[in-house]
Symmetry: C2
């Protein structure tokens, strides 16, 4: 059975010409691809969704998070980063089980479904459990096991085995929506050997390498002291950087390092909210990245350092952070930022042929927002819709979320997830974690 989205007030296609359709319908094949657009009726067997009073947008893409950290949301805020990690987060992370990560990921999946995110890139532990949660939720994802090198050679090999096991696990799931990436945590927590192993495996398996780069001033300074080299120089010199690398953060880059990203095709997951909250200093050089053609997506980062997974919130923070940093209100326009959360995000994770825009033949990852909520009124025209999405919308204006043509939430009701079961599982996990 296909799906017929009938009479959307507006459709923000995010196609090449950034076309915006008025009073338009979309039909979706039962295999989850967009069959037709701008039509008046679907096929007889289609399930019909009434889209009057709604705007349809491509599902948002969160290019960097640690989903199971929902468990730590609000647990330890307003602290110095190292204090937060060493005193609060790391001791708890040691006690995490697969079951806990499963429930944490389900809670995150519920929040993303609720707030219009249909695809995410994750790095954490117990990733087979995160994969199970993602599969049940019906979301699209790229999952990586976060490799942190212990001092021993045996430990390092265990990290690599964990990565390969996750790869095999995900391939065995045979889900068209769940894919694998390598996840060396960072240049300062992984050895040169591990980084190069990841690079080689990524080429062999044709997957991305998800890594944190140049997040804070402190990290950058320590790296230079320890290795007598800047992070980017070091990664370039050892031959790690390539168009397989999805570099989260990338705040502390020089102009020539941004040029190098552009030349090598390095991809970026920009996380403005987390950068501001953890106060690592400065603001990522976004206009420079655009100038060098770097594909930049948006990420919320983990829910312990944001603390929400609402990509609408992240869009507004992104636009305003760059305007205020540059003292220039024309920087990071609403359209440009919506691009980052949709088609540019798809480009940043190598999925631009599949998702990121509403076009015939693409997968139907789609989100409906309610235009009858007061913050979405009035609508002056095409530009206003995009402005409202970035500067005024909340993820809680989302009414319906669709991935691969499957309706995950309709009129704010979850069709796959069981909120009561998730709440119970999360509460039990937190009780076991904290006491």
């Amino acid at each position: 059975m296909g799906l017929f989205l009938k009479g959307c007030d507006w459709v923000i296609t995010q196609n090449h010409d950034r076309e915006v359709l008025r009073n338009s319908s979309i039909s979706i094949d039962d295999n989850g691809t967009i069959r037709d657009m701008g039509i008046t009726q679907g096929s007889r067997s289609d399930e019909v969704i009434d889209c009057r009073g709604k705007v349809l947008i491509p599902g948002l893409i969160n290019t960097h998070t640690h989903l199971s950290m929902t468990l730590f949301r609000g647990y330890a805020d307003d602290l110095e980063l190292q204090q937060w990690l060493e005193k609060k987060i790391w001791p708890l992370e040691k006690r995490l089980t697969g079951e806990m990560c499963y429930y944490g990921a389900l809670l995150g999946a519920m929040e993303m479904t609720r707030t219009g995110t249909t695809c995410f890139v994750d790095m954490y532990f117990h990733m087979a459990d995160v994969a199970r949660a993602t599969g049940e939720a019906g979301l699209r994802s790229i999952l990586s096991y976060g490799m942190i090198d212990p001092p021993t050679q045996e430990g390092k090999e265990r990290e690599r085995m964990s990565s390969l096991k996750l790869l095999q696990h995900i391939r065995a799931m045979k889900s068209p929506r769940i894919s694998f990436a390598l996840g060396p945590h960072s240049p300062y927590t992984c050895s040169e050997e591990t980084l190069l192993w990841c690079r080689k495996q990524a080429d062999k398996e044709n997957v991305l390498v998800n890594i944190h780069i140049a997040e804070t001033r402190g990290e950058q300074a320590k790296f230079e002291r320890d290795k007598k080299s800047r992070e980017i120089n070091y990664l370039d010199k050892i031959g790690f950087l390539s168009d397989r690398v999805l570099a989260a953060h990338s705040v502390w880059l020089t102009k020539s390092e941004v040029k190098l990203y552009g030349k090598l095709g390095v991809r970026v997951a920009h996380c403005p909210v987390s950068n501001m909250k953890l106060a690592g200093g400065s603001v990522a050089p976004l206009p420079e990245m655009w100038e060098e053609g770097v594909p930049v997506g948006l990420g919320t980062d983990g829910p312990a350092s944001n603390n929400s997974l609402d990509m609408f919130d992240t869009m507004k923070f992104c636009a305003l952070a760059h305007k205020s940093h540059r003292w220039d209100p024309t920087v990071a326009s609403a359209q440009r930022v919506l691009d980052m959360a949709t088609i540019d995000g798809a480009r940043a994770i190598g999925k631009e042929k599949e998702i990121g825009s509403i076009e015939k033949g693409k997968q139907a990852d789609l989100v409906l927002l309610d235009l009858k909520e007061p913050n979405m009124m009035p609508l002056h025209g095409k530009e206003t819709v995009v402005s409202d999405l970035v500067y005024s919308a909340s993820g809680y204006n989302v009414s319906t979320t669709i991935v691969d043509g499957k309706v995950l939430m309709k009129d704010r009701k979850y069709l796959r997830l069981d909120p009561a079961k998730i709440e119970e599982g999360v509460s039990a996990s937190v009780r076991r974690l904290m006491f």
Copy 2:
């Protein structure tokens, strides 16, 4: 008939000790004051609201906005301030009628009710119509007519007459919720004579003076060029500054100017979102203001320069803007920022004896948020609730809004406002404005 809020999971009192109550009930007198707290049952005639699964907080206080500018929401974003004002906003504002401002204010009131703001300070035109909308909506407000001196003496006197007419109009309404403030727009749009007239009237009528001060770098530079004095020096020299002044923005202050604010008792409405979006440069010296004991509230500013009226959004921006500006994650903690939106906001507008916290004898301006939404889970304890409110909540998590003991929205249904009528009135206003 009184009101009995039964079994709130959490009550964030914001009283002197910032007490947080667990599984607690509140009873409210029919005159709108809080009768009792922490009790198990109300009086027999009370209307009962089931508050299980909810957190109760004081209604949020928006200390600076221009409500009717909802009509311009999203109409002209990503522009330089002067271009925005001169090319886009001012030509439209000339065409505004009282009817349009009425509907614009109703839309804003609906958004505030929806997102948990119960009191606001407004400055705009056609303020009798804004007062009518506010009265119908049941919100608490301080309303000021925005005085901008024309070149002629006759014009200046007309502005003063408009202010006095609004004062008389509001007093004649005899609403305990609607009060008046003088509203000289700024030191660069009002003459010395007008500013001093406002100061004198404020003393005489025992009201606040609502004014924009030191908002942007450009304004500050131009003022210094024109008057050979910084704004604050000038305002101090002419004897304008006092504890009657509510100074919106106040971004471009030196440390000694902040000290002067503290010494004179000047109040501040801090508007972080608008400051970032319009990119006027820098960040208001909030920690310095706190050190000097300046009462600082939060404001959204007008919905054309934010573009939302959601104070939860403004709280998160406030916390993160100051953390990132100072490269210090401990600055502007969640508790401190919640204070700004509640009890400190009340202090900033001289209403701390009436509202801003949940205490016996205070007016019942109260808001319930739904703890079953995914972004509000899990709850680790008292500190987490406050963290979640500031870093994770959206105004759309609000389920019930109460002002003066009257329920304005219950379970997301408006009890006073008619959304369909507001939408129709706003659409008609926008059509007449734009064509």
